[in-house]
C-alpha cells in the first residue's frame, strides 16, 4: 500500500498488527526474542525465586516495620 491510497483505506488496528508481524524483518524478530527472553527471566525466574516481597511473609506488616524501625535506632548499634 502506498501513501496515495491511504485516504481510501479504512484504518484497521488488527490488520496493521497482523501485517506488521507477518512482514517483520529479521531485526524485528530478533528484538522480540530479546524482549520475550528478558521478560521470562525477570518475571518467571528473578521475581518468584529471588525477589519475593519480603513483607508478604509477615502477618502484621505495620507492627513488623514499626518494631524494625524502633529496634534499629541508635540504642541498638549495627553489628559488623
Amino acid at each position: 500500500m502506498t501513501e496515495n491510497t491511504i485516504a481510501n483505506e479504512k484504518f484497521n488496528w488488527f490488520k496493521m498488527f497482523w501485517d506488521g508481524f507477518m512482514s517483520m524483518s529479521t531485526l524485528g524478530k530478533t528484538l522480540w526474542v530479546v524482549v520475550i527472553v528478558k521478560l521470562i527471566i525477570m518475571f518467571a525466574i528473578l521475581k518468584p525465586f529471588f525477589f519475593s516481597d519480603f513483607l508478604s511473609s509477615k502477618d502484621d506488616k505495620a507492627s513488623y516495620v514499626s518494631e524494625e524501625l524502633v529496634d534499629r535506632s541508635v540504642s541498638l548499634p549495627l553489628s559488623e
Partner: protein, 514 residues
C-alpha cells in the same frame, strides 16, 4: 530481630546502584533520540522530501532497538524495593506507589500504543497522523520519566505527606505538592534535557561515522544539521536547569552541595570551584586537614548559585554538623546532636504510641503522637551513631559533579563548532571534527552517569532526606542472597548491553535504507 551487618547494606546499595546505572544507559537514548526522530519526521511532513523520511525511519529503527532492549529494565528496581528495601517500601506508602502506578498505567501505555503506529503504520495512516503518533510515543516516554523522577524527587525532598504512626506509613495529603514540588520539576527538566543532549551527541557521532566512511553522506549531513542545533539548545538548557537544580539542592540538601564543592568551612560570598583537586590526606570532616590540594574559584558564584545572593552564607560540612548558623528562612540551624536527640525522641514516641494503642490508652497515645509529629522532621537522625555518618563520600561527589560540568561545557563548545561548520557547509570536509563527534558519544553517557552519582551519592546516608537512613530502610536479608542477585543482575544487564551494542552496530553498519 536479625541483626544487620555492613556487608548486607553495602551489597544492597551496590545492587541498586548497578541496576540504576545500567537502566540509565538505555533510558536517555530513548528520550533524546525520540525527540530527534520526531523533529526529522516533522521536517519530512513539512517539506515532503523523501530523504528526510528515510532519515526519520532510520533513527526510529535505532530508537526501536534501544527501546526493545531497554524497556522494563526499571522494573528490576521495583523488585528491589519490595525485597531489599522493604522497610522503606512500607514506610513511604502510597506516596511512592502513586507516581509509579501512574507511570505504568498512563504513560507507558501511551508510549506502547503509539509506538505500534510509528513502526507498523507508515503506509496505513496519513503523514500527519503518523507524525502525531511519533510525537506521542516520545511524549509517553517523557511522561514516564516525569513520574519516576517525581518519586525520586520526593525521596530528596519529602513534600505533601503526613506520617501515620498507626500504619507506620507516610500518607499523601497533597498530590500536587508531590507532583509539582520544585525539586521534582527541576529534576525532571534537568534529567530529561540531559537525555536530549545525549541523544544529540549520539546522532552527531553516528552521523560523523558515516562521513568518515564516506557513505550515506546526505543522510549524515541532514542528521547532523538537526542534532547539532538540538544538541546546542539542549546543553544550554542543561546549564540553566543545572543552575535550578543546584539552587534546590542548596535549599533542601545543603550537605550535598557542600560535598559537591568539597566545602568544609562555610563562609559568606563563597566561590564556585572551576577546577580543583581534593587533598587525599583529608579523611574526616573534623581532622583539620586542608581539603584542597589546589583550586581555582569563580568568586562568589556558589553563593549566587545556591542562594541568589553573591554575599549569602554557604554552610560547609563542619557548619552543618555544628549548626548555629542562620537558615534562609531566618531560623537557626540545629546541630547534629540536637537533630539526633529529636530523632531519638520521635522514634521513642513511635514505640510508646504503639504500646499505648495496644493497651487501649488513647489519650496517652495522642500525647505520644504529638511528640512524634513535633520531632518527625528529624526522625532519621535517631539512627545515626555519630556525625561522620552524616557526611557523604566527598571525593566521589566532588569529582563526579565537576567532571559532569566540564563535560557539559565541552558539549556546548562541540555543538557550537558543529553548528558553525554546518552553516559554512564544511562538516563533510573536516575530518578531525568528524572524529571528535564520534568519540564524544561515550562522554555523554559518562556525564549522565556522573549526574546520578552526584544526586544519589551526595544525599547519603538518606533514602528519604532526614527521615529514613539506609540502615533503617534495608530488609533483614542475608548478605549472601544479595550477592547472588547482584551477580544475576550483573550478568543479565551486561548481556542486554552486549545485545544492544551488537544489534545497534550491525544496523548502523547496514545504514539507512536506500
Amino acid at each position: 530481630m536479625e541483626l544487620l551487618n555492613s556487608s548486607l547494606l553495602e551489597w544492597s546499595r551496590a545492587q541498586f546502584a548497578m541496576t540504576a546505572g545500567y537502566h540509565w544507559l538505555f533510558v536517555p537514548l530513548t528520550l533524546g533520540l525520540g525527540i530527534i526522530m520526531s523533529i526529522v519526521e516533522s521536517i519530512y511532513v513539512k517539506t515532503g522530501d523523501e530523504k528526510w523520511k528515510k532519515a526519520a525511519k532510520f533513527w526510529q529503527l535505532i530508537f526501536g532497538i534501544n527501546f526493545a532492549i531497554g524497556v522494563a529494565t526499571g522494573i528490576i528496581l521495583e523488585f528491589q524495593f519490595g525485597t531489599n528495601w522493604s522497610n522503606y517500601s512500607w514506610f513511604v506508602g502510597d506516596i511512592f506507589g502513586a507516581p509509579l502506578a501512574i507511570e505504568g498505567i498512563v504513560a507507558f501505555f501511551l508510549e506502547a500504543t503509539f509506538i505500534s503506529i510509528m513502526f507498523f503504520g507508515w503506509n496505513r495512516v496519513g503523514k500527519k497522523t503518523h507524525l502525531a503518533s511519533t510525537w506521542l510515543t516520545v511524549g509517553g516516554a517523557t511522561l514516564s520519566a516525569y513520574w519516576i523522577l517525581v518519586a525520586n524527587a520526593w525521596m530528596q525532598y519529602p513534600a505533601g505527606m503526613a506520617f501515620n504512626p498507626e500504619t507506620v506509613r507516610n500518607e499523601m495529603v497533597s498530590f500536587w505538592s508531590v507532583a509539582l514540588s520544585p525539586f521534582a520539576v527541576n529534576k525532571f527538566f534537568h534529567t530529561v534535557v540531559s537525555a536530549w543532549g545525549l541523544g544529540a551527541a549520539f546522532v552527531s557521532g553516528v552521523s560523523a561515522w558515516y562521513l568518515i566512511k564516506n557513505r550515506n553522506n546526505d543522510f549524515a549531513l541532514k542528521s547532523i544539521k538537526v542534532s547539532a542545533i538540538f544538541g546546542l539548545v539542549s546543553f544550554l538548557l542543561l546549564a540553566i536547569t543545572g543552575d535550578g537544580s543546584a539552587y534546590q539542592v542548596a535549599q533542601k540538601q545543603p550537605m550535598k552541595l557542600a560535598a559537591m564543592e568539597g566545602l568544609y568551612k562555610g563562609h559568606e560570598g563563597a566561590g564556585l570551584i572551576a577546577v580543583g583537586m581534593l587533598n587525599p590526606a583529608k579523611k574526616a570532616y573534623d581532622d583539620n586537614v586542608d581539603p584542597y590540594a589546589f583550586k581555582i574559584e569563580l568568586p562568589k558564584m556558589l553563593s549566587l548559585m545556591g542562594y541568589r545572593n553573591i554575599n549569602a552564607f554557604v554552610p560547609g560540612i563542619n557548619d552543618i554538623v555544628a549548626g548555629g548558623y542562620a537558615l534562609p528562612d531566618g531560623s537557626i540551624a540545629l546541630s547534629f546532636e540536637e537533630k539526633r536527640s529529636r530523632g531519638q525522641k520521635a522514634i521513642e514516641a513511635l514505640a510508646n504510641f504503639q504500646e499505648a494503642k495496644k493497651a487501649g490508652l488513647d489519650s496517652e497515645a495522642a500525647q505520644y503522637e504529638a511528640v512524634l509529629r513535633e520531632n518527625y522532621p528529624y526522625f532519621g537522625y535517631g539512627y545515626l551513631t555519630d556525625a561522620h555518618q552524616l557526611v557523604p563520600n566527598v571525593p566521589l561527589t566532588f569529582y563526579s559533579f565537576h567532571i559532569m560540568v566540564i563535560i557539559g561545557a565541552y558539549f556546548i563548545l562541540l555543538f557550537l563548532v558543529l553548528c558553525w561548520y554546518n552553516c559554512k557547509k564544511k562538516i563533510e570536509s573536516t575530518r578531525w571534527l568528524q572524529y571528535v563527534a564520534l568519540w564524544s558519544i561515550p562522554l555523554a553517557y559518562i556525564a549522565g552517569q556522573l549526574g546520578w552519582v552526584v544526586a544519589e551519592v551526595g544525599r547519603q546516608p538518606w533514602t528519604i532526606q532526614d527521615v529514613l537512613p539506609l540502615q533503617a530502610a534495608v530488609s533483614s536479608l542475608s548478605a549472601g542472597n544479595v550477592i547472588i542477585t547482584f551477580t544475576l543482575f550483573a550478568l543479565l544487564f551486561t548481556a542486554l548491553l552486549i545485545a544492544e551494542i551488537t544489534i545497534m552496530v550491525k544496523q548502523i553498519k547496514k545504514g539507512p535504507e536506500d
